[in-house]
Amino acid sequence: MITKEQVEHMASLAKLKFSEEEIDEFTHKFSEVLNYVEKLNEVNIENVEPTYGVNSHTQVLREDVVQEGLSRQEVLQNTKEDQYGYFKLLKIVE
């Protein structure tokens, strides 16, 4: 069973905010889903390796060849605020 406090903690980690009412509803639905996934405890997983991805050829390497990237204008075209050709953010260092 998950508690309201745990849900609030998850929300802060995930950078999400909920109203009191939403937290209550969330806690309830969350518990239902967690009860369902408890099913996994029935499986014997001793000596079983985890499968992160199905393809075996991970860590593919290639020659480091310089290629044309997106232009500065293209990179910035979807931001709400930019300044001097950069993304604009609040000052975080005094």
């Binding site: 995930a14 905010k17 889903v33 369902y36 996934v37 099913k39 996994l40 405890n41 499986v43 993304f87």
Partner: protein, 487 residues
């Protein structure tokens, strides 16, 4: 003759023989969209001006006698989580309501290179999270067979657009069944290819070890036709297979072969675990009739066991939400996407932007994933789910050492009414019970129409081993031929 009702294959033939022009074909489809879209809502963004220009270019090529591509002049819908240069890509979310990508996904480049015409971007569950297309910020898509019902999800817009003749072909994405389930609900064919044979470059990741781009067509031949155009190695995607075996060549399935010959001697496994209490028994009856068709066409049928399949859905929700929480961390309101108007700190900028722009289902899954990956729970949840994934994969590997394909229902339930399951996420998740194990193991699978219950369609799932698309295609062509010939 209503040219929007032709198969993509027939359209292509008529265009190349100059019996119709691409411009004529594309115009007919936009007229069709105007007629039905208010009832269906299959599209988020239309691309009329560009589509007509591209059609004219194809027509010019034909007039000049130049070589034309595989998809020359055909109207195609693209799910809105696949980026299209200079054409809005929203992922069905307020977060990306105004996002204009500066580049094309590899699959889009391939469609353009094959002279396909992009009609527009199709509606979807927000960030591909859902099984009904009801979580879209742009309103739900409705099932063309019964507009009070859902078209399935998350590629519901693509499936509905193909079914209602708004496009001939469409792309979707499938993370846990998001192509096969809407194909089943909309009575069309949907193929989820093996993981790695179609590039995911430019597809907005939901759960990247499970996501695959795939196709919709109104029959098997059309779907394979589309798949042929987009398959192949892509150096921009490090999970892409550089393996010629994984390439579907449309010409390998010539028309001359009798449908009866595809299934002779094919070994088929029917997992006993694909029936359970909560399943609609009428669907089971249709599946049994379908199995008889395979049998009568010379396939060898045996019951098999996939003992860990029942844990697939639980493992899937842990793994997919964990990947979701990580993938969706990129939406922070800084570089692109929605940015909150009010904030005093950088942290508030992130939190307010995400809180205001993500919908309920997306937030729920991010939260579940954050929980599964958090300290103290990762070992208990995430790692355990990955180990169960191994067991499921092993079950399939064992089965495919003996059988060519595995058959199951695509969905345990019929298309439900809009709003019916919106308040009960777990009930909705159960709809994916038979499709998620395929993604966990990276296999290929097709959903093909196999009958009706009270006028609502039932889908049959044909599952094949990794990179053995040829088997599911042969099975699909054989079965479809059998149905068309009254078996």
């Amino acid at each position: 003759m209503d040219i929007t009702k032709l198969s993509a294959f027939e359209m292509r033939k008529k265009i190349s023989k100059k019996e119709i022009s691409s411009k004529e074909l594309i115009t007919a489809h936009f007229n069709r969209i105007e007629e039905v879209e208010k009832d269906i809502n299959a599209f988020i963004t239309l691309n009329k001006e560009e589509a007509l220009k591209s059609a004219e270019k194809v027509d010019e090529k034909i007039v000049k006698g130049e070589q034309i591509g595989l998809l020359a002049g055909l109207p195609i819908g693209i799910k809105d989580n696949i980026v299209t240069k200079d054409l809005r890509t929203t992922c069905g979310s307020k977060m990306l309501e105004n996002f204009i990508p500066p580049y094309d996904a590899t699959v889009v480049t391939r469609i353009k290179e094959a002279d396909g015409i992009i009609i527009g971007k199709t509606n979807m569950d927000e960030f591909a999270m859902g099984s009904s297309t009801e979580t879209s910020y742009f309103g739900p898509t409705k099932n063309p067979i019964d507009t009070e019902r859902v078209p399935g999800g998350s590629s519901g817009g693509s499936a509905a657009a193909v079914k209602s003749n708004e496009v001939a072909l469409a792309l979707g994405t499938d993370t846990g069944g998001s192509i096969r389930q809407p194909a089943a609900y909309c009575d069309i064919v949907g193929i989820k290819p093996s993981y790695g044979i179609v590039s995911r470059y430019g597809t907005v990741s939901m759960a990247n070890t499970l996501d695959q781009v795939g196709v919709f067509g109104r029959d098997v031949k059309d779907a394979v036709f589309m798949l042929s155009a987009i398959t192949g190695y892509d150096k921009k995607d490090s999970t892409s297979f550089n393996n010629p075996e994984g390439t579907i060549i449309f010409g390998s399935f010539p028309e001359e072969i009798d449908y009866r010959d595809y299934l002779k001697g094919m070994k088929i496994g029917i997992p006993r675990e694909f029936t359970y209490e909560g399943m609609d028994s009428r669907i089971n009856e249709e599946i049994k009739k379908s199995i008889k068709i395979f049998e009568s066409l010379g396939a060898e049928i045996e019951e098999i066991s996939l003992p860990h399949i029942e844990y697939g859905l639980a493992a899937y929700y842990i793994i997919s939400t964990s990947e979701i929480s990580s993938n969706l961390a990129r939406f922070d309101g800084v570089r692109y996407g929605y940015r909150a108007k009010e904030y005093n700190t950088l942290d508030e900028l992130y939190t307010n932007s995400r809180t205001e722009a993500f919908g309920e289902e997306v937030k729920r899954r991010i939260m579940l994933g954050t929980y599964s990956l958090s300290r103290g729970y990762a070992e208990d949840h995430y790692k355990k789910a990955l180990k169960v994934r191994t067991l499921i994969k092993n079950d399939f590997d064992k089965a495919f050492s003996k059988y060519d394909i595995i058959l199951s229902p695509t969905c345990p339930i019929l298309p439900f009414k809009l709003g019916e399951k919106a308040k009960n996420p777990l009930a909705m998740y159960m709809g994916d019970l038979f499709t998620v194990p395929v993604n966990l193991a990276g296999l290929c699978a097709m959903s093909i129409p196999c009958g009706y219950v009270e006028g609502l369609p039932v889908g049959l799932q044909i599952i094949g081993d990794r990179l053995k698309e040829a088997n599911i295609i042969k099975a699909g062509l054989g079965f479809e031929g059998g149905v068309k010939n009254g078996l």
